[in-house]
């Protein structure tokens, strides 16, 4: 989230799209309703009418997978009707930058496309620079190649007519949402966009969010109270686990994973540290070597020295463009390229697309270590229905896991607030926390390497690694410590003391930190700030609910990101009624500003978007793999075979894996005419592994169902409560028909398209409840993130003669 949970109350207009907040983040909804009580309009755009819709001002049904068309229509509406916030657009975004001649967009494709490799050469997606290397600008926004005019041209195709025909949203509904939300394009109004997995789980997921970024920049809604783009995020500590990075492509603190073509420490820094020549651009990532060096010092301690490149050489390096995400991992496993590994606190045999394939793939492992609260479809895959255990070679370890209340440590919520949780009770029986399993396990491995030697033993033996697991030891290391006596701004710190702020991190080996974003969270002066429970705030802070003394949030306790965009060049709030920061003549008051420099008019200020190289909000965003501006593409499986925006039906660069089990239905395949979307439900958690084991929750939601409109049910001769077979080209799933008016048939390109929706929380280890819905979904993913397209695929549905997975 750019903002945070409480800040939702400051919005004048709330667009919930790709999220069912009331059911899946119920407490977030109390802040939505507080805004509503204060007069905000709440809109829910979603294929299904849910409890979120019931409590919104209006619900707008949409065909799953057409969000860019919907958002593009709104961008077009804002540009055509002059609803944008002009000063903000000119001063704080790159709308005025001149895009180089080589950049083009033709019939759905951007310049640089190579159909053979299905990738873009992005070198033409760039700006004209002046002699100093600063982008050329036209603040009048008249230059035909300035970002603003390219945007206008690009989205001119997204008229109400086209958008309505593709999305299935009525023209009235489009007008209603567009006009309401765009009314926030004035300094005194703010609108927020709340999304969740309904936006990310598409082959155009990143561009869905880009469309929100562009819209919010045009309306001046970024950096302000009640604005922003707010990813609600699904999982309990998914913000923290992303920051601390259980991911292949980055290392903690959002730095790139070392690559084979960056052979040395210096080469890594050179390739990853941006340079800006604009004196008004903060270009924050120029400090990256300090953060990277501190991380390496954290990992290898005293063994990491300037001389050995801080042990950079020991780290694994991936190949440029390689994808090691789980979609490709399971494909490699299926192809017998993987020997063994760990799956902890995750149930991919239920939650990864094309379950039939991944379940088979798991059988190919020699060994598997799992750690869970309960048996799951993953831990017990070796004796799943239809498989003879005597033929499954995998050696499986199942470690009992401690529950959240049985361990202490910190977690980070979507608003980036760090919270400490105490251990309330001892772990059940022999259960252990992940930390108390992995620390000793690594010590065993280290001991073996010390004893026996082996391949590259120093990568393991030189690690800075404790004997036992003590959570607070790691909390301190995450913040970072001095590795030698140091003076920072006149204050002396001894070796081993906590680093006060990331501005004190250094690339000379004198500091270590496991995550620079968290430096400042545990200091000599403030102690463990995750434990702070003080609701005190100034009147200005209380007005928008910042709570700066409650816990701590990254970065540097800044509650609203990009908040320098909420003030004018003199540092005065654009909306004084909901001021975030303000220059009082000597200092900033309110939130912690995005950098403490004086206001821009002083001549010593910086542009507000300090994390981007040139300091401006990126309406034109050249960093993405699928284009600098969003464009509507159909989901990979789609009920239509053409759309009015271009000849390019689906994303030209989406990712996929290929095997005999990875079939895809062709566009408008008459065998699979119905759009399937998948979602969570309130009583069960994600794959359901935990909640299916709670009898009262299982009583309330006992078995797998498929929600469908009465119109579709009639067409298929299905009655409410019937057992049905839902079928995609990849697999079949049994479910109970839930015929409901909450699902509406949509008019798409003049014909009726039906949508069905299914939860994915049931599995065979809870007998009679149904089995993985993801046997239907395809292994196709977003080109930037490889997040699979769970939200839109094509199926057919028929009444079942009998059911075997579900007890009738």
């Amino acid at each position: 989230m750019t903002n945070h949970w409480i800040d939702i109350k400051n919005a004048d207009s709330i667009l919930i799209i790709g999220s069912n907040a009331a059911e899946h983040h119920p407490v977030s909804f109390k802040w939505v309703l507080r805004a509503k009580d204060a007069g905000a309009t709440v809109m829910h755009v979603d294929p299904k009418f849910s409890r979120t819709s019931a409590r919104s001002d209006f619900h707008v049904p949409i065909r799953s997978g057409t969000d860019i068309a919907f958002m593009g229509g709104m961008i077009n509406y804002v540009l055509e009707n002059g609803r944008y916030y002009k000063d903000y657009v000119v001063d704080y975004t790159n709308a005025s930058y001149i895009v180089s001649e080589g950049f083009e967009f033709n019939d759905g494709l951007f310049s640089g496309y190579d159909p053979k490799s299905r990738t873009y050469d992005q070198s033409s997606w760039k700006f004209d620079l002046d002699s100093k290397g600063v982008p050329k600008k036209d603040p009048s926004l008249k230059h035909p190649r300035c970002v603003f005019n390219l945007l206008k041209k690009h989205f001119s195709r997204y008229n109400i007519e086209n958008v309505s025909s593709v999305t299935g949203v009525s023209k009235d509904n489009l007008q209603k949402v567009y006009s309401t939300f765009s009314s926030t394009g004035t300094p005194d109004k703010a609108g927020t966009i709340m999304y969740a997995l309904g936006w990310t789980q598409h082959t155009v997921g990143v561009q869905n969010i880009r469309s929100a970024a562009i819209l919010q920049l045009l309306l001046g809604n970024i950096g302000v109270a009640g604005g922003g783009i707010n990813a609600l995020r699904g999982e309990p500590n998914v913000q923290g686990s992303t920051d601390h990075t259980l991911l292949y492509h980055i290392i903690p603190g959002y730095m790139a994973m070392p690559r084979a073509d960056w052979q040395t420490y210096d080469a890594y820094n050179k390739a990853n540290t941006p340079v800006s020549t604009d004196p008004h651009s903060a270009n924050w990532w120029q400090h990256k070597p300090k953060y990277f060096t501190s991380l390496l010092k954290g990992w290898y301690g005293e063994n990491a020295t300037a001389k050995n490149g801080y042990c950079y050489g020991l780290l694994p390096k991936i190949e440029k463009g390689a994808d090691h995400s789980y979609m490709f991992l399971f494909d490699r496993m299926y192809n017998n390229e993987i020997t063994g590994g760990f799956i902890i606190g995750l149930n991919p045999m239920n939650s990864v697309p094309n379950s039939n394939k991944v379940r088979k793939a798991l059988d190919n492992l020699d060994w598997l270590v799992t750690q869970e609260l309960h048996h799951s479809e993953t831990t017990d895959n070796w004796h799943r229905p239809g498989v003879d255990p005597k033929k499954v070679k995998t050696e499986v370890f199942l470690l009992p896991s401690a529950h959240r209340v049985e361990k202490e440590g910190t977690v980070t919520n979507s608003g980036r607030w760090l919270g400490w949780h105490d251990k309330a009770i001892e772990p059940e029986a022999d259960a252990r926390s992940f930390g108390a399993a992995f620390v000793p396990m690594m010590n065993e491995v280290r001991a073996l390497y010390k004893e026996e030697g082996g391949k590259l033993p120093e990568a393991i033996t030189l690690l800075n690694w404790p004997k036992t697991y003590n959570p607070e030891y790691w909390t301190r290391l995450i913040n970072g410590q001095f590795t030698k006596d140091t003076v920072v701004k006149g204050t002396k710190y001894k070796k081993g003391q906590q680093v006060p702020s990331f501005t004190a991190l250094s690339d000379d080996g004198s500091t270590m930190s496991l995550n620079w974003l968290y430096t400042g969270s545990y200091t000599e002066e403030g102690g463990n700030k995750a434990k702070r429970r003080n609701p005190q705030q100034t009147k200005m802070q209380a007005n928008i609910g910042l709570y700066p003394n409650w816990a701590w949030c990254w970065p540097v306790n800044r509650r609203i990101l990009y908040n320098r965009a909420s003030v004018n060049a003199d540092g005065m709030p654009l909306n004084p009624k909901k001021a975030v920061i303000k220059w009082d003549g000597k200092k900033w008051v309110g939130d912690v500003p995005d950098g403490g420099w004086k206001p821009l008019s002083s001549g010593k200020g910086k542009h507000p978007f300090i994390m981007s190289k040139h300091g401006h909000g990126q309406i034109f965003g050249p960093g993405r793999k699928d284009g600098p501006i969003p464009e509507h593409y159909e989901p990979v499986e789609t009920p239509i075979d053409s759309h009015p925006f271009s000849k390019q039906l689906s994303s030209p660069v989406y990712k996929f894996v290929d095997s005999s089990m990875d079939k895809l239905a062709k566009p408008a395949d008459p065998n699979f005419p119905i759009v399937l979307t998948t979602y969570s439900l309130t009583e069960h958690w994600c794959g359901g592994g935990e909640t299916r084991n709670v009898p009262n929750l299982l009583e309330a939601e006992p078995q797998l169902y498929v929600e469908m409109s009465p119109e579709l049910a009639e067409e298929k001769g299905i009655a409410n409560g019937d057992g049905v077979i839902v079928e995609s080209i990849r697999g079949k799933v049994e479910a109970i028909a839930m015929v409901t008016v909450r699902m509406r048939p949509l008019k798409v390109k003049g014909k009726t398209v039906h949508l069905v929706g299914m939860p994915f929380c049931f599995g065979w280890t809870t007998p009679g409840t149904g089995d993985s819905t993801n046997r239907l979904t395809p292994s196709v993913g977003d080109p930037n993130t490889t997040i699979p397209e769970y939200k839109a695929s094509c199926v057919n549905i028929r009444k079942a003669d009998k059911l075997t997975e579900i007890e009738m």
Partner: protein, 311 residues
């Protein structure tokens, strides 16, 4: 959302509070019924003083000095009660007459009255000494009046308590939103004699109602209520994991003794979420005397000494 009582339940009167307690704990009835009248009259006195003060132009509005408060200095600290002069006659009369109903106090009260009548003791300087913790002065006065110190303090406190309760009642709106982190009263500086856990705020829209449970401390002297964080000991500020322990009578989780696992100080608590009726909080501590007795057996120390928890 401080001090919000759901519209569904008006607080019980003193008599109702004691009556309810006697029904539930018949064994306590002979003891606590004694106080029903005394506290009812006290409540009436406070109401009438409040009415009087509300009209009195000499009665100053409390000065909210943010800086002073931030340093933990209560509103009435370093002040006096000269504004209350008009209340003295009623105060004296009512408190003295009714405390005399406790026969063992009769002689001391007579002495106290005499001291005032002979101008040996002025209520003004007495309240001044109380408000500023001037113990040597109070000891000297007690000695002079020939009253046992503990009794002298008890009588003085009763009067100050009625006066300040009336004052706080008049200025409720000014003092109710003070930001305060201390366990002593932000208005008069006294420690609380009971805490409550609030009901959810039912007037909020559906997702906002929450589960209630905010802890409010009730001032033993002026009856002001202020918010205090859960999980922290009001006596020693211990906020380690599991700092607050509690016990309750089996089957009634709504009334409990909360104590600190480090300093062993306790404070009784009523969880209003468990009940349909809100007791009168001035008299509620006395209805929990059985819990105080249990606490004493467990060697716990009360946060503030009262008649009900001193054995």
């Amino acid at each position: 959302m401080p001090n919000v009582a759901p519209s569904s339940s008006a607080p019980l009167s003193v008599a109702q509070t004691i009556h309810t307690a006697c029904e539930r704990h018949p064994a306590l009835a002979p003891l606590i019924e004694h106080f029903s009248e005394l506290y009812s009259i006290r409540a009436e006195l406070i109401a009438s003083l409040a009415e009087q003060l509300a009209k009195d132009t000499n009665c100053p509005v409390p000065v909210i000095n943010e800086e002073k408060l931030q340093h933990g200095v209560p509103v009435l600290s370093d002040s006096n009660a000269t504004w209350a002069a008009s209340c003295y006659p009623k105060l004296k009369e009512t408190v003295f007459v009714h405390l005399k109903n406790i026969s063992s106090l009769e002689s001391s009260i007579t002495l106290f009255e005499q001291a005032i009548d002979t101008q040996q003791l002025s209520l003004e300087s007495l309240f001044d000494a109380l408000l500023n913790s001037n113990e040597s002065m109070l000891q000297a006065q007690a000695k002079k009046a020939n009253i046992e110190y503990a009794v002298f303090i008890f009588i003085s406190q009763q009067m100050l308590s009625c006066l300040l309760s009336a004052y706080v009642h008049v200025h409720k709106e000014t003092v109710q939103n003070i930001f305060w982190r201390e366990a002593y009263c932000p208005v008069c500086g006294s420690f609380p004699d009971i805490s409550i856990l609030q009901r959810p705020d039912a007037d909020q829209s559906e997702f906002l109602a929450g589960g209630g449970g905010k802890k409010m401390l009730h001032c033993s002297t002026c009856s002001h209520q202020w918010h205090f964080r859960r999980g922290t000991c009001p006596a020693c500020n211990n906020d380690e994991a599991g700092a607050i322990h509690y016990f309750h009578v089996d089957g009634n989780t709504g009334e409990r003794v909360e104590y600190c696992n480090s300093c062993n100080t306790y404070l009784n608590n009523i969880d209003l979420r468990n009940t349909t009726a809100t007791p009168d909080l001035s008299v509620a501590p006395l209805t929990l005397i059985h819990l105080d007795m249990q606490a004493a057996q467990k060697q716990l120390t009360p946060l503030v000494r009262t008649l009900w928890n001193t054995f």
